[in-house]
Subunit: 405 residues, 2 copies
C-alpha cells in the first residue's frame, strides 16, 4: 500500500514559498527586537511535564498538551508555551546572568486542539522578555516593541489598538465582592468573554446572586504608562478593565494588541508582567515582563491589509543549450558564485522553452542561456524573468552588471 | 516542592552565547547552499509513524524513535531524519514542482538514545537535496557543496577527506557471493565497522563459512566523479568500497566527509543518491541526491580546529546615571535606533561600576553613560568594551561616529 503524502493532522508543511513568507516575518521580528538589545536563546521542544503542571494544573496539561511517558518513565510534554522554559533557564543561571536581561526566541509550540475545530496544533511564536527591571520603563519598552513590530510591517496605528489593564485592579475589584476562588475564576472567564455574549449581565447576576457592576478606575501605573506611551507617539492605547489574559502567572500590567479590521476584529497578541513565576524554582525573585506573538496571527494581519511584499529571490538560473556548452556553463556559475551571486545550474539540455519555464517557476530572478552564440562571441544574454526582458552584454561585463543589479 | 531547572534528559538549552554559535553555523550553511540556488523549506517535527516504518522497519521505529499515539488514535513520531519528510512533500506536489529542484532545510531531529551513552536525543541537521537530476553533475554538485561548507568555515582540505562508494558496487560484490538477505545485511554491518574491530577477517569468515576477500574495482561512475571533482580543485576524494552508510534507501553513489584529526578521526557527515524513495508514495519516479550534516559534528570540528570566530554583538548599552538623565538617555536611544543601531537601555540608576559590568557581561560592544557632564556640555563618552578604551565626542557627531564604527 502506498503512503499518504499528507502531513500529520493540524500541522503545516512549509513549501519554499511558505517558508519565504515565514522567514520574512521572523527576520522582521528579529530586526525590531535586536534594535532594543534583545539576544536570542532557544531550547528543546521537549520539556518535563512538571514544568506546566505547576502553574496550569494537571488537568489542562493532560487535555490540552501533547504529553507522553518516555521509556525511562519520564513525563514529557511538547512545550505549549515558551514562558515556563525561559523562566527555567533564567532560574538555572540566575547567578551568572546580569540584569536587566533582554531575551527573545522564536520557538514552535504545540497544543492538542481537536481537529474538527480546524485550529492548528503547531505554531511559531516570537517571545520577548525583559527580566530584572521592576520599573514601568520595562513595561513601556515591551509595549513599544509590539507597536514597532506592527508598524514596521506596515500596519497603520489606526488599524489596531492596544488594550491595557492591571491584574491588581481586577484583584481588588473582586476582593471587594468577597468571592471564593471558584466564583472568582468563573467571573474572570465571563468578563473575558463579555464582548462575545449577549446576556453578560444575566449570567453575571446568576453567578453572584446580585446585579454585577464592573467599572473600576485605572490605578496609578495604568495612568502613568498610558501617558508615557502617548509622549512617545503611541496614542492608540486604551485602559480596558475587562482585559483578563489567560495565564495564571500575570501579576501586574497586562496588554493586548487588537486588530480593528471589521472582518477580523480580534486579539493579535499580548503579554504582561509576571514577577513571581520564578518562585516555582529554587530561585531568588526575578521580575519579568514580556509578550508572545504568533506567526499565524501576524500573517493573517499582513494578508488582510495586503502587506506581504513581493519576496523576490536573487538566484540566477544558468542553462546549457548543448553538451558542448556544459563546461562554459559550469565555469561561469563558479565565477558568479565567487562574486557572491546565487546560481542554480541546469545541464539537462532540454529545449529552451522548458529551461525558461524551469527558471521562472523556480523563482529565479535572471535566466542565462549558454549556447553556440555565447561561446563563439563571448557575449551573454541576461533575461530578467519578471520583466520578461533581455539584454546582451560582452561576457567581460557580466559580473559588474550583476553587481549593479 | 521546587521544580528542577534542568532541561529534559539528552536535549540542550541554548543560552544566548550558545545560540549565537548555532546561528553562526546556520547562517554559513544557508549562505553556501543558497549560492548553489537551493531554497529553504520546512515541516513539522511531528510526522505519521508509517512514514518511517516503510523503509526502516517497525522494530527500529519502535525502539529508536520517539513515537506515541495521539488521542485520535493516530501513530505519531518525532522525525528522526528529514529525508522521508522531504520525499513526502515532493511527492505531494510532483505536478507543480519544476525539476531539477534544489531544496534545503535545517530541521531538529529526535532519536531515542539511551541516556547513559551520553548521546544527544535532539540535534539540528542541514539537509540539502537535489531532485530530478539523474546525471553525475548532480552528485558532483552535492559533494562540492559539502566541500565548500567545510572550507568556508575555515577547515583546510588537508584536514579532512571525502570517501566515496557506490551501492551498486557493493550489491554486485555481494551478489557474486550468493548471500541471502540476512547474511548480506550482517556482512554489510560488519564491513561498516571494519576499522573499529580487530578481528574483522575472523568474523567475516565465521559469517560466510569461508575466507572473505573484498576489494572490488570502482565502477565507471566513481572513476568519472573523482576525475571531475579533482578538475574542480577538490582533490581530497577517495574511493572506499567499505563505505556503507546506514540508510536502506541509497541506490547509487554514497559519500562521507571524514575528519582526519588524530583525536577526532570520524565521519562528519554524508549522503548519497536515493532514486527510489518516492516509490513509497503514489508518485512518478523522481531521482534524488543529497546529504545531511549535523550541528554537533560541525561544532566539534570548529572547536577542534579553533575555527569559531569571536562573535561580537553590535549592541550599544546606554545608561542613565541619575533620574534627571533618564529623558536624555531615552531620547538618544530612540535616535540611535532610528539610525539602525541596536541599543539596550539601563535606567536602574545603579552605580557606574555595576552599570559597566552589566554592559560588558551583556556582551554589548559599546557603553554610553549619560550624566550631568553629558547633559550640560552636549558631549558623549563612548567606551568600547573589548578594548576598554573611551573617547569623548560632541553629541552631534555620535551617529556618524557609530555608523563608521
Amino acid at each position: 500500500m502506498k503512503l499518504s503524502t499528507e502531513p500529520y493532522k493540524g500541522v503545516r508543511d512549509f513549501y519554499p514559498h511558505d517558508k519565504q513568507i515565514q522567514t520574512y516575518i521572523f527576520n522582521m521580528w528579529r530586526e525590531v527586537v535586536e534594535q532594543y538589545g534583545y539576544v536570542e536563546y532557544d531550547a528543546s521542544v521537549l520539556e518535563p511535564r512538571e514544568l506546566y503542571e505547576a502553574k496550569s494544573g494537571e488537568d489542562i496539561v493532560n487535555h490540552e498538551t501533547y504529553s507522553f511517558t518516555d521509556r525511562g518513565n519520564r513525563n514529557v510534554t511538547l512545550r505549549p508555551e515558551m514562558t515556563p522554559t525561559v523562566a527555567r533557564m533564567i532560574a538555572q543561571r540566575q547567578r551568572e546572568i546580569v540584569f536587566p536581561a533582554r531575551w527573545y526566541s522564536i520557538p514552535n509550540l504545540f497544543r492538542y486542539e481537536r481537529p474538527q475545530r480546524g485550529r492548528l496544533r503547531e505554531h511559531w511564536q516570537l517571545n520577548v522578555d525583559l527580566f530584572g527591571d521592576e520599573s514601568l520603563t520595562a513595561d513601556k519598552e515591551i509595549i513599544s516593541i509590539g507597536f514597532n513590530i506592527l508598524t514596521r510591517f506596515g500596519v497603520n496605528p489606526e488599524q489596531f489598538e492596544i488594550r491595557i489593564n492591571d491584574r491588581r485592579i481586577v484583584q481588588s475589584a473582586f476582593a471587594e465582592l468577597g468571592l471564593d476562588e471558584e466564583t472568582s475564576y468563573a467571573l474572570q472567564k465571563l468578563i473575558d468573554k463579555k464582548d462575545k455574549i449577549s446576556d453578560f449581565a444575566e449570567k453575571a447576576e446568576a453567578l453572584l446572586g446580585k446585579p454585577f457592576e464592573y467599572n473600576p478606575e485605572p490605578n496609578q501605573e495604568i495612568v502613568e504608562i498610558i501617558k508615557q506611551l502617548k509622549k512617545d507617539g503611541i496614542s492608540n492605547v486604551y485602559y480596558d478593565p475587562t482585559l483578563m489574559r489567560g495565564f495564571d502567572y500575570y501579576t501586574g500590567i497586562v496588554f493586548e494588541f487588537f486588530d480593528k479590521h471589521p472582518d477580523n476584529n480580534r486579539s493579535l497578541f499580548g503579554g504582561g508582567r509576571y514577577d513571581n513565576l520564578l518562585d516555582i524554582f529554587e530561585s531568588k525573585r526575578i521580575s519579568a515582563v514580556g509578550f508572545g506573538a504568533g506567526d499565524v496571527g501576524i500573517q493573517h494581519v499582513l494578508e488582510t491589509y495586503k502587506l506581504i511584499p513581493h519576496l523576490q529571490r536573487s538566484t540566477i538560473g544558468i542553462c546549457a543549450l548543448t553538451i558542448d556548452d556544459i563546461p562554459k556553463t559550469e565555469s561561469l556559475a563558479t565565477e558568479m558564485r565567487k562574486n557572491g551571486c546565487n546560481v542554480a545550474i541546469n545541464t539537462s539540455l532540454k529545449k529552451p522553452s522548458t529551461l525558461l519555464n524551469w527558471s521562472e517557476k523556480s523563482d529565479n530572478r535572471f535566466t542565462l542561456f549558454i549556447g553556440e552564440t555565447e561561446r563563439m562571441n563571448s557575449v551573454i544574454t541576461i533575461r530578467e524573468n519578471i520583466k520578461k526582458k533581455s539584454i546582451t552584454l560582452p561576457e567581460s561585463e557580466l559580473i559588474s552588471w550583476l553587481k549593479k543589479a
